[in-house]
């Protein structure tokens, strides 16, 4: 059974049809890329899945449950985590705190625990910190050691992207949505991140949907590619099929001159 199954998703923003009848599914353990020209509706697609915006119509079934129209935090709790195209960390929290706060929905100690300093609360705090460090160590030396106490805003751009992924991992998701994870990275960092995405599946057992512009990354990581244009899914298949598909080439490059209008 598919981990995520989306049928006929519609979303309008003030007259612009951002998503127009998108069907989508992903099986457990798959890595699927979503590509398309600017304005194709890719990020809207993520926003709707992650609950930032409710769809106008359509169904989203995740892990057997309808989640369309639920609050973002409820959806995250069910196991979908995401990153943002423009990196939205909590810049004044430390690196470690950014990851610790990601575990919010997997922990449950409230005010009483904090005030009374119960054993449970202390154990939980210790566990949160330990988990956070363990997740940060997943990024090798990049986010290690002395950086943990630095506020997030001092990080380099690439490290902010890594930290954002770490924060998403901290929510213990089943499905991870990565929105242009390599944007703004240099070639070496891009290769590193490509490997990391593979490791997310092999070591962590995550299913990943990624929006990506870099075709090399798309080729290297994805089992399957979905192409969106003007809110419509125009093609789907493995990288080889997609890269030779006429509709896709047309969407990216425009209609060849002199082509028939019908």
């Amino acid at each position: 059974m598919a981990l995520l199954d989306i049928r006929d998703l519609q979303k309008q923003f003030g007259g612009v049809q951002a998503l127009d009848g998108v069907d989508f599914h992903i099986d457990e353990g798959e890595i699927v890329s979503v590509i398309g020209p600017n304005g194709a509706g890719k990020t809207s697609f993520f926003n709707v899945i992650s609950g930032m915006f409710a769809p106008d119509s359509g169904t989203i079934v995740f892990d057997g449950d309808h989640v369309a129209g639920h609050l973002p935090n409820e959806i995250t709790e069910r196991g979908i985590a995401r990153t943002f195209q423009n990196v939205r960390l909590f810049p004044n929290l430390t690196v470690l705190e950014n990851v610790m706060v990601g575990q919010h929905c997997r922990t449950d100690q409230g005010m009483w625990g904090a005030i009374l300093q119960t054993k449970k609360q202390k154990a939980e705090e210790a566990r949160i910190e330990e988990n956070a460090k363990e997740i940060l160590s997943f990024f090798g030396t990049r986010l290690a050691g002395y950086r943990h106490d630095q506020p997030a805003f001092v990080l380099s751009y690439a490290n902010r992207r890594r930290l954002e992924i770490a924060r998403a991992m901290a929510t213990e998701p089943k499905l991870l949505l990565l929105d242009e994870p390599t944007a703004g990275m240099n070639p070496r960092e891009t290769i590193e991140l490509t490997e990391l995405i593979g490791k997310l599946r092999s070591e962590r057992g995550l299913t990943v949907v990624i929006i990506e512009h870099d075709m090399k990354v798309v080729r290297d990581v994805s089992d399957r590619v979905v192409v969106l244009d003007h809110g419509v899914k125009i093609a789907e298949g493995d990288y080889e099929t997609i890269s030779t598909n006429d509709d896709v080439i047309e969407a990216y490059l425009g209609r060849p001159q002199g082509a028939d209008d019908e």
């Binding site: 923003f13 003030g14 007259g15 612009v16 600017n38 304005g39 930032m52 915006f53 409710a54 369309a68 129209g69 639920h70 609050l71």
Partner: protein, 369 residues
């Protein structure tokens, strides 16, 4: 990117139990039931010949509309500043108070030498000018000293600053003019009487008619200024997007000063209206009308100029007629004490029922998200 349309703020969701939504629905339903029962009760009382007479109701409505149009004029200043800079200029009530207070000087002198009664119109025009100039100057100085250095700061910072400015101006005026309430001279006899046109006496005093007329004229003038003049379109451009407007060769600072100046001038007009309607003025005069005018701006849809005027008049009616009509109908004693509470409740209910106001917000792209 191809378009700059912002996402909608509201997030419609499929029904599912949700504490906030349920609570808000409860409030909506409870408010509607209470208002209905109150209004029906008042009508029954009226039919039974109890409570205020028809004339009393009529006078109440007319006076509410006059007060409301004054709120509307102050609300214009809030609305414009919110539209352009995206923060609540808490000190705008004090801008209004400053015009009213200084205008008093220009009213007292002609009153003492009899000029007030002999040439009422000239005197009133002088007061109007003095009030407008004072309010405009105060608004400009506040912008220059307190708000300009904060351009681009997180939005709560200018709001907190404006609270500080508000206090400072209040107590500066308390120090300058003393804390006692002073009274404007009574309306000249020609104005105090009921208005009569072509021998038909209307049930409205000349003063009130003048106040409404001034409000309408100011509104039309402002409307013309904002939509038809070059400065006005610069203002709208800056409201939409400061950065782009700057790139298009608009002097953003100057435009923002103009916005404050125009808002201040409107507050000055409102100051004259306060003088004619209520007469008494002290350093705290600006506080309540200020908050109510902000409520009016939200009610009409913040950033929306006709909305501010409409919101003002509606708020005037809510707080003028509401206590008697709704609370009186519910059998609550001493309703006139609850006038301000009704105005504040109106603010809360408006934001629960329709957060973008009656005529819709008009905010720049930066302020919507």
């Amino acid at each position: 990117m191809s378009t700059d349309l912002a996402p909608e703020v509201a997030k419609p969701r499929r029904f599912k139990f949700n504490w906030v939504d349920s609570f808000l629905w409860f409030v909506r339903v409870a408010a509607l039931i209470a208002i209905t029962i109150g209004v029906v009760g008042s009508f029954q009382n009226f039919a039974a010949g109890e409570g205020p007479s028809a004339t009393a109701w009529r006078d109440l409505i007319i006076s509410s509309i006059t007060t409301g149009s004054m709120y509307g004029l102050i609300a214009l200043g809030y609305s414009m500043v919110y539209g352009v800079l995206g923060f609540i200029n808490f000190a705008h009530g004090e801008v209004f108070m400053s015009g009213t207070m200084v205008g008093l000087i220009s009213a007292t002198m002609p009153f003492n030498n009899g000029f007030w009664d002999s040439s009422p119109f000239i005197s009133i025009v002088v007061v109007l000018l003095v009030a407008m100039i004072t309010s405009t100057l105060v608004a400009i100085v506040i912008e220059r000293v307190a708000y300009r250095p904060l351009r681009g700061a997180p939005r709560l910072i200018p709001l907190i600053t404006s609270i500080g400015v508000s206090f400072f101006v209040q107590y500066a005026f308390a120090g300058l003019f003393g804390v006692a309430t002073r009274n404007y001279p009574p309306s000249p006899p020609g104005l105090a009487a009921d208005l009569s046109i072509f021998g038909i006496t209307l049930p409205i005093s000349g003063t009130r008619a003048l106040v409404i007329a001034v409000a309408v004229v100011s509104m039309i003038g402002l409307w013309y200024f904002v939509t038809k003049t070059k400065t006005g379109s610069a203002m709208r451009a800056v409201a939409e997007d400061k950065e782009i407007a700057g790139l298009m060769g608009i002097d953003v600072d100057k435009t923002i000063v103009t916005t404050f100046a125009v808002g201040g001038a409107m507050a000055g007009v409102a100051g004259l209206m306060w003088a004619l309607l209520f007469r008494g003025v002290d350093f705290l005069t600006g506080f309540l009308p200020g908050i109510k005018a902000f409520t009016a701006a939200v009610l009409g849809g913040i950033g929306n100029l006709p909305g501010a005027m409409l919101g003002g008049v509606l708020l005037g009616l809510f707080e003028g007629v509401g206590p008697l009509l709704v609370l009186g109908g519910l059998g609550i004693p001493g309703v006139s004490q609850l006038k301000d509470a009704v105005a504040f409740a109106a603010l809360v209910l408006v934001l629960i029922f329709r957060p973008t106001g009656l005529l819709g917000e008009r905010l720049g792209s930066e302020d919507r998200v």
